[in-house]
């Protein structure tokens, strides 16, 4: 079996004032090694909940009712909390949606990166500092020596997302969950960030679960795509097939709306 992550028949719901509302209804998702797997859905489809379930950071009101999340030969759902956190934090990283709020505003960039390395790679302070410079260099930040001493507010949105990408790749994870990583960015910056993620991914061979509502972005970066609709994966295909030959009605609709939306003559 070559799947890094295998989600099977996952049911998940939120209880609110004794009222239970289901969010995921038997989701199946399989992410192959060294692939970028897109997860598409409109808001409310449950895509961030799925990401949180995999990362083990579901809010306390939300419960997993049924199903498995297989990762590295373990079922994350059934694991004791502490062990699960150990395993997940070491091998699953995350690139968040909003780079503006995802770095601690009162701590220097270098320290925030260094802490992760010291925790998971067991590096000492000096080695961690050196590695941080290398990492920043890898994500094409021009002046890493200056940036490590800066605070997040001194960096642009694109730069912050680069730092967060460096953080995600820093401990050589098996899987990276990228939750709408370019939604908050300008289009030109978005293209650079997508390029960076693709480049680092193909260099390291890490698998990426790429969550987005934007079929355009998905088309550009993903190898496989799953379409999530009202708590169910309605379609899972290779990206090439999906865009040429969408099978599910919902996908066809979505693709049609989006294509209509993006009809530019200059690409005809």
């Amino acid at each position: 079996m070559n799947a890094v992550l295998d989600v099977q028949n996952l049911y998940l719901g939120v209880s609110q004032k004794r009222h239970y509302s289901p969010i995921l209804n038997g989701v199946n998702l399989e992410i192959q090694r060294s692939q970028i797997h897109g997860l598409v859905g409109e808001s409310g489809a449950g895509k961030s909940m799925l990401a949180k379930a995999i990362l083990g950071i579901l809010p306390s009101s939300t419960t997993i009712d049924k199903g498995y999340i297989h990762f590295k030969g373990n079922d994350l759902v059934g694991m004791p909390r502490y062990e699960r956190r150990q395993l997940a934090s070491r091998h699953i990283a995350m690139i968040p949606q909003d780079p503006m709020t995802s770095l601690n505003p009162v701590r220097r960039v270098g320290n925030q990166l260094g802490d992760v390395l010291r925790l998971h790679m067991k590096l000492n302070r000096t080695l961690a500092q050196e590695r941080v410079l290398e990492l920043l260099n890898d994500v094409q930040i021009r002046d890493p020596k200056r940036v490590v001493h800066q605070y997040p507010f001194e960096l642009s949105g694109g730069m912050r997302q680069r730092v967060l990408i460096a953080m995600a790749f820093s401990c050589k994870p098996e899987l990276i969950i990228a939750d709408e990583p370019t939604t908050a960015l300008d289009v030109t910056v978005q293209r650079q960030i997508l390029q960076l993620i693709k480049q680092l991914q193909s260099e390291t061979g890490t698998s990426v679960l790429f969550i987005s509502h934007d079929l355009g972005v998905i088309a550009k970066i993903c190898d496989h795509v799953s379409i999530l609709h009202t708590g169910n994966v309605v379609e899972m295909q290779s990206a090439v097939n999906l865009f040429q030959n969408p099978r599910h009605e919902y996908t066809q609709n979505l693709l049609e709306i989006t294509s209509h939306y993006y009809r530019f003559e200059n690409t005809d």
Partner: protein, 335 residues
């Protein structure tokens, strides 16, 4: 900390101090009409009154009176106390260290206690420790410092006499300290028995003063910690696998402290003002106790001097708070 910022803050202090001096002056001279009436002992004759009036320059126009008084103040001369017949500045300086020690101790207690309560309440949120913290802060917001003082006297002075209820130090102890900063000096000299009695005397007034501020800090810090704990960077830290206490203290606390520090400036003023009654209740020989005496004795020069002293204390405290705010918040640090 950049020097221009400090300079700017110091420059801004000047108009505040001038304003304070004007209001003190106007308050005491203009509002009721005749300050002499405040000063005169019962049964004074017309001649006595005229004499006093001349002595204090009260027969001159009000603006001139102010300018004369203010220029003296600038030279460091607040005049002579009427009731104690001593130089006002000397009097205040002899009592000020006691008040400073008390206030600093109270601030220290409230910051430590308030922060701990907030951390406990956040860490075990939705569990019984939070309920206790909430109850404590709610109760404390209803009980002012002077009531705490009285409760302590009742509890630990009367019903269960554990601690001394008046004074700064046991009068039987032979003091040969040179400064008025008893606690600091006794510590430096290593006289721990003296230090211990000093602490025993101070503990009740200090805690009474500290409790209201503790409640404010605990409540505000807990609220902003709660808010901070929902931020994206906290979620990132959880994903990265840092421990919960580490996240709370390293990632969240400093961010949460920024708004709390910003609002605590005013609260420290209430604490400073609280020394007036607390010192009275515990017969603690500081400037607060002295001010009530001065009001009762209608000692005009002393009241003026004391109010200005309190204002300066407040300004200094606020400067310190402002600087810690800037240290905590890198965004404003280098402006």
């Amino acid at each position: 900390m950049s020097f221009p910022f400090l300079l700017r803050r110091l420059v801004l202090v000047i108009p505040t101090l001038i304003g304070v001096s004007i209001i003190v002056f106007v308050l005491l001279r203009v509002v009721p009409g005749d300050p002499i009436m405040m000063m005169i002992p019962p049964g004074a004759t017309e001649d006595d009154i005229d004499h006093l009036r001349q002595l204090y320059g009260l027969d001159k126009p009000i603006l001139e009176q102010y300018l004369v008084w203010f220029s003296e103040v600038l030279k460091g001369d607040f005049g002579t106390s009427i009731s104690l017949r001593q130089d006002v500045v000397e009097l205040i300086l002899s009592r000020l260290p006691a008040t400073i020690e008390l206030a600093v101790a109270a601030m220290f207690i409230s910051v430590i206690l308030g922060t701990s309560l907030a951390l406990i309440g956040t860490f075990w949120s939705n569990q019984w420790p939070e309920t206790i913290v909430d109850g404590f802060t709610g109760l404390n917001q209803a009980i002012p410092d002077f009531l705490w003082g009285l409760i302590f006297i009742l509890a630990f002075g009367v019903l269960w006499p554990l601690l001394p209820v008046s004074g700064r130090i046991d009068p039987r102890i032979n003091l040969d300290l040179v400064s008025q900063f008893y606690i600091v000096e006794s510590l430096i000299r290593g006289e721990f028995s003296v230090f211990l009695t000093l602490i025993k005397h101070m503990i009740m007034p200090a805690i009474a003063l500290a409790l209201p501020l503790t409640a404010v800090i605990a409540r505000s810090l807990k609220a902003s910690l709660r808010e901070t704990m929902t931020q994206d960077y906290i979620r990132m830290a959880q994903v990265k696998g840092f421990g919960p206490w580490r996240i709370l203290i390293v990632e969240a606390l400093r961010n949460a402290m920024i708004p709390t520090v910003a609002l605590s400036g005013v609260q420290f003023n209430f604490l400073l003002g609280g020394t007036v009654l607390i010192e009275r209740i515990f017969s603690y020989p500081g400037i607060g106790n002295m001010s009530i005496g001065a009001v009762i004795d209608r000692d005009l020069p002393l009241i003026q001097g004391l109010i200005i002293t309190f204002a300066i204390l407040f300004i200094v405290t606020n400067l310190v708070i402002d600087m810690s705010y800037r240290t905590l918040n890198p965004r404003v640090r280098n402006e």
